[in-house]
């Protein structure tokens, strides 16, 4: 934190919050945009470190404990820095029945990290997703917003190689 790029990100986040026209709104009104603001912050920073949570709390005039309470409740909000690419395995029932756990084990072996961890070079983070509703394509992997369906053990190394 504290670099020029971070400074720009904070500025962008501030502009987004200012665009919500919160002046004159009561606590309920400011709280109602919290999740939306946190989504934006995570999009900008990649995760939600303490500084960002403090900044959001300050801008929305909410207590930091409340912001942290929301961040820690929802699975999609992350407080640890992720790798450049998140490899996310769908863990819906259809994907589970069609072998998602084996793919995860394979990826863990190939990258040398466990689920939820980031590779030392900062390239990949292994994660899991709730059902993305693309059950016909099970098992499904999402990397950088791209969906890969009917993934087999043979295909996995090739898919990972696409992301440098």
């Amino acid at each position: 934190m504290g670099t020029d790029t971070d400074h720009k990100k904070f500025q962008e986040l501030e502009a987004m919050i200012d665009g919500l026209a919160l002046a004159g709104k009561d606590t309920e009104g400011r709280r109602a945009v919290l999740i939306q603001v946190l989504h934006k912050a995570q999009e900008l920073f990649g995760y939600l470190p303490e500084e960002v949570q403090k900044f959001v709390a300050g801008k929305l005039a909410l207590h930091l404990s409340e912001v942290y309470g929301v961040v820690s409740f929802y699975h999609l909000f992350k407080t640890k820095r992720s790798g450049k690419y998140c490899i996310e395995f769908c863990m819906g029932t259809a994907c589970y029945v069609r072998g998602a756990t084996k793919l995860i084990e394979q990826a863990e072996q190939a990258l040398g990290v466990k689920l939820g961890e980031t590779t030392p070079d900062g390239r990949f983070t292994l994660g899991q997703l709730r059902c993305v509703g693309a059950c016909s394509l099970a098992p499904v992997i999402q990397i950088a917003g791209k969906t890969f369906g009917r993934v087999t053990a043979e295909q996995l190394p090739g898919i990972l190689a696409e992301f440098k």
Binding site: E28, V33, T93, A94, R130, T147
Partner: protein
Amino acid sequence: MSRLATRYDLTALARKLAAGPGAGAPPVQVFVGMSTCGLASGAGAVYEAMAKALAARKLANVTLVKAGCVGLCYAEPTVEVQVAGQPIVTLGNVTPERGEELVAELAAGGKIAGAISEGDAIFKKQVRIALRHCGRLDPEKVEDYLRDGGYQTLAKALFDQKPEELIQTMKDSGLRGRGGAGFPTGLKWEAARKAANTPKYIVCNADEGDPGAFMDRSVLEGDPHCVLEAMALAGYAIGARFGYIYCRAEYPLAVKRLEIAIGQARQLGLLGANILGSGFDFDIEVKLGAGAFVCGEETSLIHSIEGKRGEPTVKPPFPAESGLWGKSTTVNNVETLACVVPILEKGAAWFRGIGTPKCPGTKVFALAGDVKNVGLAEVPMGITIHEVLEEIGGGSRDGKPIKAVQTGGPSGGCIPASKFDTPIEYETLASLGSIMGSGGLIVMGADTSMVKIAHFYLQFTCDESCGKCTPCRVGNKRLLEILDRLLKGEGKPEDLEKLQELGNVIKDTALCGLGQTSPNPVLSTLHWFRGEYEECLKKGPKAVTYRIVAEKCVGCRACAKVCPVSCIDGKLKKPHVIRQEECIHCGACFSACKFDAIVRE
């Protein structure tokens, strides 16, 4: 497009659109299914190839439509061809090359090869109400929706009907909440209408969290305007001027299409102040979830919209009395809302003519798992599980008999094959220990371990329990521990009774609907497949061993490749051997072998 100031402007626009620009040659519409599954399977490239080929051939009478999903997920990408006056022809697994050929076939006016026709079983048993437009119009073009009579029902209601009339029609129709609990929609609206706690809100629950259910995503991606129109109608009926759509963040395409649709409706004056000059104001905002399963429960969902942790609260008070910011709030599920416009348009009697007396209408099921035709099917209530699985689903993938189906996701249960002749209704499924739920139907093949399935769902529930009430937070954890030790072969004799007792206690004492239904996967498998639990107790999974029969093994290495612990040795084309001391008894090799060379003992 400019704002429609009166209902006559709307009618005039619809007429103009229906007349169409390319009148003359028989118009042909080609629908490319471009929902999440279609796009991930390459529908984008198919569309591009066909657009190019059409332009090259200058086929002016053919319109290419970026449509939603028809529900034949197993055959994605799909393309449908509608020649005016003829039945629709559906093509599956279309490649860009096949797309180009198809254009050539259309140019020649010949027959289209290799198609699934509307008369095939997969379509014949279906009655499409909620999915009526999915795959048959471009969800990003409001013109397509308007051409098909879109927003006319709203106009009629605003000018010709009283709110009470709409509520009466909904009550008479017998429509029940399609999110799973099956509460009559008309009664919900009536309670909200009577509530004095203003301003009132209408909320669309699009937090489709059940793993294996994707009908709401399909409606939102394929026909977003039908949800907006229904919300405006509900708003008019109950007296709400504002609505929220709470959509899970895992559905980015659905959110994008909703935002586009809301923008179009506002531009046309179909949302916003003084809709069509009627004096009725109504607007909608999309709110994103952030990955919490419990937010599908309505009180949790309301807290999440308020920007809080999505924890449930005790009912009563029901949201109709005290919901968003303490005001009267009506929460309806996407599929429920998708049925509203057809009901108000065609009448309660028409809707009652479909389905059963207790459960009129249809239900969309998402067929997934070990079944041939994975996809969405909208069927009349009262159809048997067997009909859905065999006639629409095409039976199991490997042709072996299906062992069970799981309905209702983590809140539901497993139904054994012996009960497949049960007609599908809320009450019948409940009597089998499962629930209708949102309509996920996961097919379990002969080799599926029911104890492991129960374990999978329970792990899900433990991860997703919000932690507010003890029965769910601690009780489910204890259930999971018991299943853990059963699967490790360390079960104790009293464990089965304990599962049963604890499961029932959680059912009776948990705070919200999710907690109360969370033991269902365990209780139902324990009831119908007790033998498998007893087997775990008796032997433990280690007692099951896998052995390769050397005479049958051709040395194809299929088993060695799938073995997660690499404990299968053998050279190519030579018989293989399992190193028993390292085997974890997972059965992967058994499933992978195509030559029946592996025996389970």
